[in-house]
Symmetry: D2
Subunit: 349 residues, 4 copies
């Protein structure tokens, strides 16, 4: 890290910082500039030191040099991680397509959707059984009954199941049904949940929080990776900005940025990222062109009666058309969607 001294820092203050840096186990390397002195501190392992040094007298600011994430870093592991769960392949040239309803509402609704998205080319089924809702008065999900419905849909279609787990105490239950555990945006920094999900041994889909920086997303991934579970998929689903014409702002540049800094695959959620059905197809195409390793899309038999997220769900027909568009763009950028394999042959983890 680089400790930048104030222009009016005294020689005593500079000397004090040099000693403090050394006491903290680092090598201090002062550079005397024309207007101010900066002190390079070499060998630091801990971010805390940066924070405390900033409060020493005469210090203007402390600039970190090393990225705080480690295991997730492309500098540590040069080979890209590919996550495979049956027909769902995510990473490298493989584009995983996860589709399904926001909430599991009934067996009929879920099965119909599973069949439709499989027919259109999806490689996994999403569906919420435990729903984190902004309002306590909103539909909270069918809970274990919802998980059972998802299992039925998997048995029929062979599509692996992606579903959200909201609490550390639910991980065991949800993991006994799900093929891929989803950590929602609101829980990106629920560290106890991250650790439990990691320890379940299931692959984990980690969604970016709407106010999280990409560094914070990678540090949240480290909580999972540190349990020894390397099967982590990152998901960009939009951030909070001043824009109001979309529900969130979908910053697709995070896809190439992440590809240049981490080996983990990154998928995009154009449904939450826009909040409007009419914007989903173009943004799905844009995400793939930006290099995304997959998509997660909300699909519903009849959005105008959906119990959640109707305004951003695609109908079966809209999803099929979106898949045609996505396939053409995928080919243009050298990616392919794996056709679902027959249910008999499926190798779920």
């Amino acid at each position: 890290m680089i400790v930048v001294m104030r222009t009016d820092a005294t020689p005593e203050q500079i000397q004090h910082v040099i000693q403090l840096v050394q006491q903290l186990g680092m090598k201090a390397h002062p550079i005397y500039g024309t207007e101010r002195t900066v002190i390079a501190a070499i060998g630091s392992k801990r971010d805390e030191y940066r924070q405390s040094l900033a409060s020493s007298p005469g210090v203007d600011s402390v600039v970190p040099i090393l990225a705080p994430y480690k295991v997730a870093s492309l500098e540590v592991k040069r080979e890209r991680t590919v996550v495979r769960v049956g027909p769902l392949w995510v990473g490298n040239s493989h584009l995983g397509i996860i589709a399904g309803p926001c909430s599991v509402e009934s067996e009929e609704q879920t099965l119909a959707t599973a069949r439709a998205v499989k027919a259109a080319g999806a490689t996994a089924l999403r569906g919420g059984a435990f729903k984190p809702r902004t309002s306590p008065y909103s539909f909270q999900g069918l809970k274990e009954d919802g998980l059972k419905i998802l299992a039925t849909a998997r048995a029929e279609t062979g599509l692996p199941i992606v579903t959200e787990v909201m609490a550390a105490t639910d991980v065991e239950l949800v993991a006994s049904y799900a093929d891929l555990l989803q950590i929602g945006a609101r829980n990106m920094q629920n560290y106890r949940l991250l650790e439990e999900a990691g320890q379940s041994g299931k692959p984990v889909l980690l969604k970016r929080g709407p106010a999280a920086t990409l560094e914070e997303l990678l540090l949240a991934a480290e909580y999972i990776l540190n349990t020894g579970n390397q099967q982590v998929i990152l998901c960009e689903r939009g951030i909070r900005t001043f824009e109001t014409h979309t529900r969130y702002t979908l910053p697709l540049a995070s896809v190439p940025w992440l590809h240049q800094h981490t080996h983990l695959p990154i998928i995009v959620d154009p449904s939450h990222g826009t909040g409007h059905t009419a914007l989903v197809p173009d943004m799905a195409a844009a995400a793939v062109a930006a290099g995304a390793d997959g998509l997660i899309i909300e699909v519903h038999p009849n959005p105008e009666t959906a119990l959640s997220d109707g305004y951003q769900s695609l109908t079966f027909q809209q999803f099929a058309e979106t898949m045609d568009l996505v396939r053409r763009v995928a080919e243009a950028v050298g990616k392919q969607i794996n056709a679902p394999e027959p249910a008999e042959a499926i190798c779920l983890p």
Copy 2:
């Protein structure tokens, strides 16, 4: 809610929406304007309907009219809630001052700080035992040992203890030591935790998430209030914006806005809200002038060696000076800080 139709909506589409509104149990009231038709839907209780109606053919948008929060609303309860925990009074004309270290690091550090902040006029002691840290490589807190140290400090000073609980499974343990349970900004929408904290019966300090709207903050408070626990204090601690000269942006207008929409007291955290020691005193004063019902401030015996948040902690001397400033401003706006009562007489809940 108001359903706004597109200018090119057909009479059939308008009729379909009217019927759908009626099927959902609401009264439909169409208004035919010069350029477009809008349909007022009266009697709605559920936000879901708004979401699904937005996806009906010919609908441009759906505008909610009623605020989604209920129990927290000033329209429901006109009398302001005052939370009292021993010498800490928060609400109405009472200004509660919660001060102490970011993390409990040792008994010596915690006791010294407790004595200093009490002497300067604080009415409660803060200190983190369970620390939610962005990086898994940062100091994670002393856990139960930290809680014991806080209890020791309370025994000596009579100051009630405010400390964070990070997980639903920790609520029982933390509540057995703490006087006021703090829900951190990262966990504002950790609904299981909110419910557990509510059920503990302890007063709860709910910090605003850095990307949360004020409506979302009030809806999170409803999760607690719905358990029957009415002792909720809201805390503004800054939001994520494009500004980088401060750690977060502290939007003090949320204080009067909340006072005009909820009966719950609202305090301000100028330490996290700015992220710089040098900005804390002026923003503490500004918060009180804006009408805040209290402050939560980080204080450390020696910020340059703190294990967390050193760059935003005040020294004992700085805190004492800040309290002098705060007291003068409090008087100017008609608020008072309750002097801590003797330890013997303390009525902890």
Copy 3:
């Protein structure tokens, strides 16, 4: 517009608003709901009324129903506007590619770049002669000498010239050289400049301000359209958000949103939108997949010595590779880049 009354509004306050609405020349249509009264005001033409009504006693808020932009609206003109300047076609299925250096630094640099971008398939040359720089100590551009160099490059390559005009008083001079006048992001709401540029009769490229909503962008376009100049191209170039890994956040969902609300073509600037050379190619591809009608990209013979924006400029080789990628994605989404026509045949306006 819809005037939402407070729940505690008195009958007198409701009556007062109804009368005020009528005095302002609108029809008042009150709707008495279960919890509050709302008053639909029909026939309003002026946004001012919305603002003033909001301050009437008993009013909670006023919700606009009609979009404030008119001439730019797709509801007014259903046919998409196509802007053509010689080989540059922008709109509908035509993808315009504007490329060149941030600043015109020398004839050599500009000519070399013009040749290279033409060879790679660009259909117009960009280059700044008048540079709006954040700091008064930065290079401010070659001014008229720069315009002359651009004219030389046009004479040789046949590429039309796109260059920024910073001040109303410069419009005549710049328009005497340029084929397409660029209004920079900082000047999106410099209304005098918008009017002058409109009156020049030249096509105008209007960049979105980094804090502007899409409504504000369309209203700024109306200032130009109202001069009778219909040749306006909108440009998304990124907004200010909390993200720091990119210079701005490039919200590509604005492309389909604008296509669904305006007939004007929209292009994307992935150079300013990301601020990093390494992110430009993928975001150029993503913009085209999102439906953009063109791109504006910074290219420099030697970015590491550029006088401005070196960190986001492509080399000639990088630009050629980006064009290959863009062409494949354009084909996938049904768009085509017009090959530059021979210089002899060029029909500049």
Copy 4:
């Protein structure tokens, strides 16, 4: 500046950067860390170098050390600037209160307001004659007729006039009437206007753009200061964030931050900063507690019929009450509002 090399940078790349730094006239000082090399470049005067070095092969990023603003910096001029225009004193312990209507609508409205705000203790009169309006269909101001009305109000009350100038070509006209030229938020980076305003010799009130960083605000101020005009007042008026309950987010921490980095006085606009009459009084008080050197507040005889900004204007009564509150807080933090001097004695510049 500090050039941070990638961890996989080759010795040749490091050597190339060292040479490039030297060619650019700086001293290169490499530091070989445990994981990567950083190169301190000493003696840089130009921000351009930072930008171009960032695109050299093997470079990860370039970190600036020196602040880019100079003349505005507190490090350059330790003595705080006080701007005085007749009874209006702004800076140090002097609190300037600028109040009046958003727009000058008529002589009657303006004179009534001028008398009322003077009686309540304001020390200057604001009023817009040239109005930059988001929509071309909104009221655009009375232009020179408005300036004449303001002059009449000054003649009667002795209050100096603060009014906006929107275009470089209007500076001479507006400066012939105004005592303090206001540069609006939309024009903060209209550099030609800044230079013209500076050259007028009149004091300039520079409002922060809603997406501008504080560094950009200070650099905009440098454009004025560089004309030799030292009479610059900065104004915080809110930034664009995801918050929608207020028109803008008013980040009061910018007040102490600016006081710690510049000698220029800073005032606050709680009217635009909140956009709601009901929030203005508390935020006016908070601004003063945060250390602001003044306030600019919108006041209107009858906000519900105002031609602009009615929803955020105070009535005369509300303004008088706000002044009482402001006076008490000012006293608490050691500031004073100068009582308007008799009109005879006024020393306008």
